[in-house]
Amino acid sequence: MPRKTSWTSVNDQLTRYLFIGCAVLVSLVILSILWFVGQQGLATFRHVTPLEFFTSSRWNPDRGQYGILTFIAGSLGTTFIAIILGAPLGLAGAVFMGKIAPPSLRSVLRPVTELFAGIPSVVYGYVGIVVFVKIIRKTTGSATGFGLLAAGLVLAVMILPTIISISEDTLRALPDSYEEASVALGATRWQTIWRVLLPAAKPGILTAVILAMARAIGETMAVQMVIGNSPLFPHSLVTPTSTLTSDIVMEMGNTPYGSTWNDALFMMSVVLLLISLALIILVRLGIQKGEAK
């Protein structure tokens, strides 16, 4: 091909570099978040030892006590409840949509799950306060109704779209021959689902659950509205407590930038960031393992 610099080929090169630039820019965002938020957070350890920070549940910034164990327990507790309640329901919904629902019903159900994802998290939190918290107060005799259970319930609804859409995509992507072979051997539909399809879809289902965990642990507004916001270790499911995210929202506005208290809140967001990065790496490893098979 003759090497001729025409306007067309210059244009071609220019746009190519433009697209590379965009991709590099997007990749740099996560690094700058780690850099800026990390720097701010690590400043905490000039005044607090990491050991105290991670293993103490005493959070009294006025008296110089910065232990975030309560918030970690709160975040893990709400996430756990959400997964226990939401994952089986979502998975059942995905199996129904993928394998049982007639096509016309499925075409209705798909937008329905997307609508779940479209409802703002403050609205979930609002319904949580107005309904869930009241019901919990009445049925358990708890003083306020706020706590892990209320937050877990709200989160269980919020993770449904994540679980459903990823699991269903995985189920539908399985080769038809799996199902055909199983049915040809005389298996019932349920035996086929339980013994063939679900085991084959396991990597995808695990991905769905891990991403749902990431969503639950990072959810802020809905949790903040129903958790009760008191820095007390959650000894029961229905006493007010706090999570990493809810405490950051509550206290960030009242603390001067650069104070140890403020830095500690940034360090809590670093913990959140590291948890979500760990989860995404877990997903990647799972995918690679699935491909290797």
């Binding site: 433009l18 800026f36 609508l115 479209g118 609804v157 990072g218 802020t220």
Partner: protein, 280 residues
């Protein structure tokens, strides 16, 4: 015959699960709209304690965030789908995009606060809010772009390149037009999600609204509808009918979410069907 009974039972339970899921959503909509719709009238937007400013800010910030994120996100998606070689660097790019997608929005909010409030000393502004919100949109736009470009058959590219078109010409005249319905659907879903975002905006756009309705200044504080619902719920000011405002705002947010999902996502899906049906 035990297997048949188990099968029937399982089928029943799965139907039940689907009913529960749809039931939760239906009850949710019914509940929010039932409480909020009676409150909604023109006064609710323009009257004293009206949320007209917040309503405007929601869409203004959304629009600006898309202006910031759409070119970069689509550009990066094009690179990953069409140009990127299979190597370590591309893997790193994908990993960082996926990581960005899972960063909790509160962390993005704090990052935006460091940059716009503390480093640039802008205070809580529409600009800071929109730019930080753009970070939430970016990874989803990259993925949506990449996915819709991948659905374009390889033969289209080959045919165009074989005719002597450059890569850019192929992209502009062949690939992008074919992938457009997917891009539109994806962008709609991104926009719907950004419109309801709260945690990012509390610490970047702030919780107060300009005194002037339809304030276009980028440095004005920009409380949105979703942030407003949080604010009236957290600090109900006496004499402002906070309960009514909360009910109405929640209903308005749900209506907007419904509108985005139904009015925009469905026609573009229909377009997708039609285009693929006619060309396929």
């Amino acid at each position: 015959m035990k297997a048949k009974q188990t099968d029937a039972l399982a089928t029943l339970l799965l139907w039940l699960a689907a009913l529960v899921i749809v039931g939760i959503l239906a009850w949710f909509l019914f509940f929010i709209l039932g409480r909020g719709l009676p409150v909604l009238n023109p006064q609710f937007l323009t009257g004293p304690n009206g949320v007209g400013g917040q309503f405007f800010n929601s869409f203004y910030i959304l629009f600006l965030s898309l202006v910031f994120s759409l070119p970069v996100g689509v550009g990066a998606g094009i690179y990953l789908a069409e140009y990127a070689p299979k190597n370590k660097l591309t893997d790193v790019m994908r990993l960082s995009t996926e990581s960005l997608a899972t960063v909790p929005s509160i962390v993005l909010g704090l990052f935006g606060m460091i940059i716009f409030v503390n480093v640039f000393k802008l205070g809580f502004t529409i600009l800071g809010g929109a730019a930080t919100l753009a970070l939430l949109n970016l990874p989803v736009l990259v993925r949506v772009t990449e996915e819709s470009l991948r659905t374009v058959p390889a033969s289209y590219r080959e045919a165009s390149l074989a005719l002597g078109a450059t890569m850019w010409q192929t992209l502009r005249k062949v690939i992008l037009p074919t992938a457009l319905p997917g891009l539109v659907t994806g962008t709609t879903l991104v926009a719907g999600r950004a419109l309801g975002e709260t945690a990012i905006l509390i610490f970047t756009a702030g919780m107060s609204v300009s005194r002037h309705l339809f304030d276009l200044r980028l440095t004005a504080p920009g409380e949105t509808l979703a942030v407003h619902l949080y604010a009236v719920q957290a600090n109900p000011l006496p004499g402002t009918h906070a309960g009514r405002v909360a009910n109405g705002t929640a209903a308005l947010l749900v209506l907007v979410a419904l509108a985005f999902n139904l009015l925009l996502a469905l026609p573009s899906r229909w377009l997708q069907h039609r285009l693929s049906g006619k060309r396929g």
